[in-house]
Amino acid sequence: VNALRPTAWRAFGRPVRPGAFVLTLVTAILGASLLAGVTTLSRLLDGPSGLVIAAAAWFTVGLLTGGWWASNRRALHAGLLFAAWTWACLGTIVIADTDWWSLLGWMSVCWALLAALLWLQDRRRTHAVAE
């Protein structure tokens, strides 16, 4: 758990959070993959579900990146919760549409869990700092 805490590493004068950074990256890849329309995933989600998840993914990336850039904790927290929703939604659709042993589906569930755990941990840090 300690590995997910903010480190002393900095980029553009702002502390880098490895967990949130990788979550932003993978959510951006999800959004790009759905928009490109050439991947297995985009062929599976070719209806409104693909559009909604792509929109949620890009909104999440915007919140996480903007929250990090502006050092806005509320935006970061909203981004983490949106990421949890997006990946849980994707995991459910993929598992329901393919089969119970879909690797992509369970990996999506893992990303949703990571987003939720990062949010829970950061909420505790916020309260610890506030005291």
Binding site: S49, R73, W85, A88, T126, H127, A128, V129
Partner: protein, 52 residues
Amino acid sequence: MPWPSNDLTDGGLVGLLFVLGVRLIDWVLPRGRHWRRADHYSTPDDPPEEDT
């Protein structure tokens, strides 16, 4: 009552329930000093973390 069988509705509902569940855990879990005490990586001598 028939369960909505639309993929997006199912996924959206499961996602929403997941987020609500996490918020419930956040509400139940102890905060502040309880968490600090349980964190073996921080000691009372640690400087306060930056509010970023």
